[in-house]
């Protein structure tokens, strides 16, 4: 077990290096001169003085070869220095850690909602297969899938904030403010979960060990909790990982609507503003977060399913 985990962690290194390389080259090859942009931010009325421009180019090391620049940037990463934002002059890491908290809180709230909704509805749908309830649930799932999340967000703001005044519509003051955006995020991600849980349960119900469990004299509830649940955990975990990744990466619409200062919003505005250090740093951080989520899920697999454990052991 330890061996597998160490092995997986070591495998991360090349991935992370690749991510760093890609994040750097995307920005390197994008059109525009960073020095010029930086100069305009620092000195808006300065015009285009070639001497000043040369000074900024010197400062950023723009005339160095590609690999030297990459090395410099990479060395910075290793010491936790991602440079300073062109726009604000603050260190990128500071900007990042200020914002990642919001994004993570929002994503995990969304994930919690999507898991609770997905497993409950999926279970009901499977348990009452082909009944009116199942049909209704299936219909609402397809409906939900086709509703864009911003519409849902605005709709919820209208109902819960404007009409009922239960939640504030904008900004973050207390954890309570996460409920509404989390719910929207969770709802729009739960459709897949509901379907997956339903299909998995139905599939497992037809499998031999469920028959055996019935023959043993176990009740249907015991069969579900003791046998079926553990067998459907694996696909649920997989989808949880995928959902989490897509929520962390894709929550910027929700962040925008609800005025949460998360990294999604900030990254997009940084890209638009050609804030190179922020864009590179955030892209890299995104990639690393996703790698770690996958690592975490890989490790969880080992605990849940003995077959995965043995296969992985055999590989090493």
């Amino acid at each position: 077990m330890k061996k597998i985990i160490i092995n997986r962690v070591l495998m991360i290194l090349p991935t992370v290096i690749t991510i760093a390389f890609l994040a750097f080259s995307i920005m390197y090859f994008s059109p525009g001169n960073p020095a010029e942009i930086l100069m305009r931010y620092r000195n808006p009325e300065g015009g285009t003085d070639p001497a000043a421009l040369a000074h900024y180019e010197e400062m950023l090391g723009i005339n160095d070869p590609f690999l030297t620049q990459f090395e410099n940037w990479g060395a910075g990463i290793l010491t936790g220095d991602f440079g300073e934002s062109f726009k604000t002059g603050n260190p990128v890491t500071e900007e990042f850690f200020y914002r990642i908290g919001y994004t993570l809180m929002l994503s995990f709230t969304g994930l919690a909602f999507s898991l609770v909704i997905g497993i409950t509805l999926g279970f009901l749908s499977a348990e009452f297969k082909d009944s009116w309830l199942d049909n209704l649930l299936r219909f609402t799932q397809s409906l939900k899938m086709s509703i864009p999340s911003f519409w849902l967000a605005l709709f919820f703001i209208y109902i819960f904030s404007t009409q009922l005044r239960w939640f504030s519509a904008f900004g973050y003051n207390s954890p309570k403010d996460l409920i509404l955006p989390g719910l929207v995020l969770g709802l729009s991600n739960s459709s897949r979960m509901v379907r997956l849980v339903r299909t998995c349960i139905l599939e497992e119900k037809g499998s031999g060990y469920v028959y055996t469990a019935r023959v043993k004299g176990l009740s249907e509830i015991q069969i579900f909790f003791k046998h079926i649940l553990k067998n459907i955990t694996l696909p649920i975990i997989t989808l949880t990982g995928v959902s989490l990744v897509s929520m962390i990466g894709g929550s910027l619409i929700i962040e925008n609507i609800f005025g949460l200062p998360g990294i999604g919003t900030y990254l997009v505005s940084a890209i638009v503003a050609k804030d190179y250090p922020v864009s590179m740093g955030f892209l890299f951080a995104y990639g690393v977060i996703i790698v770690f989520i996958n690592l975490f899920i890989d490790i969880v697999y080992q605990f849940v399913d003995p077959r995965v454990r043995d296969c992985a052991n055999a590989e090493i």
Binding site: T212, A213, V215, G217, H227, N231, D310
Partner: protein, 315 residues
């Protein structure tokens, strides 16, 4: 000596309702199991053998319509509701299936699966259940250190032994074995059959075995039922059956065994969605007459022998 009856099945009719019509898998089947005997149901694949076995423990899907009466120890169990029936199913009737790998939970330790059966039916502590499970492991000749093994760490034969241990956890009176050796290779088959025989004698169990393997039948059966297309064609004592099978289908089955390389029964098992106006075996039967096409044969019984054929009278 009058034999004590354990299970009596009368007028058992089973059909599946599907979107393209009804499938009749059991047509007025009658048979009884005497205490302590092994009764084998044989027939080709698709004759409804397994369905009959599964119906006894109510494991059929919801689209199955079951009619008829099933008595267990003189007590009609076909009237019981599901909750009452679950008790009998756990304690008195056990079932083992064809595919041991898919019939034990892949993510649960095998010992726990055996212990769980015990705990589901008797009030006892976890410790006691574990002791019982270890005892059962020993009985099916698996080493005690396999208690913590997962199913995928075992071979097919060992998995079937686990299946048997689970089935026997509560010392059932009736064991339904649905093709227990079909998925195993020949040497392991023999070991498993021997184990079943041994445990049967030890616990005075009655076994209902479903198989299509005449060799298994010859080794295990006390009495034999031959099924074809949802019909019980013949029921006979083992010795009498192998000496002289009466029904043409039973004769054909034995012909195949005598010359497995060259002889096959012409034709195939009919689609069970057909409704037979005459004898279902008539199209493949070499002894069929004009009458067989129009008249459905009834059961004719004499002593311990039953035949469902217009041209044969048991004597």
């Amino acid at each position: 000596m009058k034999k004590e009856k354990l299970l009596e099945v009368e007028q058992l009719n089973i059909k599946f309702t599907t979107s393209i019509g009804d499938v009749n898998v059991s047509d007025n089947i009658n048979f009884t199991l005497n205490k302590g005997e092994t009764f084998c149901i044989v027939g080709e694949s698709g004759c409804g053998k397994s369905v009959v076995a599964l119906s006894l423990t109510r494991l059929l899907p919801e689209n199955a319509v079951i009619n008829g009466s099933v008595k267990f120890e003189g007590f009609t169990i076909s009237d019981l509701d599901d909750k009452e029936f679950a008790k009998i199913r756990g304690q008195k009737i056990a079932t083992i299936f064809e595919q041991p790998m898919s019939c034990i939970n892949p993510v649960m330790r095998i010992g726990e699966q055996i212990a769980e059966t015990y705990r589901a039916n008797f009030k006892c502590s976890k410790k006691e259940a574990k002791l019982q499970a270890l005892k059962k492991l020993e009985e099916v000749k698996l080493p005690a250190n396999r208690y913590n093994a997962y199913p995928h760490e075992l071979s097919g034969g060992m998995q079937q032994r686990v299946m048997i241990a689970i089935a026997l956890a509560c010392n059932p009176q009736l064991l339904i074995a649905d093709e227990p050796t079909t998925s195993l290779d020949v040497t392991v088959q023999y070991q498993i059959l021997e184990l079943l025989q041994e445990l049967k004698e030890k616990y005075h169990m009655t076994i209902l075995m479903i198989t299509h393997d005449m060799g298994v039948v010859h080794d295990m059966a006390d009495r034999i039922g031959v099924m074809y297309a949802g019909n019980m064609m013949e029921i006979a004592e083992r010795d009498a059956f192998f000496k002289q099978p009466l029904h043409p289908y039973a004769q054909e089955l034995l012909n195949v065994v005598k010359d497995p390389c060259h002889y096959t029964i012409p034709g195939t098992v009919p689609n069970l969605m057909e409704i037979f106006s005459g004898c279902p075996f008539e199209p493949r039967c070499q002894k069929a007459t004009e009458m067989c096409k129009t008249y459905k044969p009834e059961n004719s019984v004499r002593d311990e022998r039953m035949v469902r054929c217009l041209n044969v009278i048991p004597n």
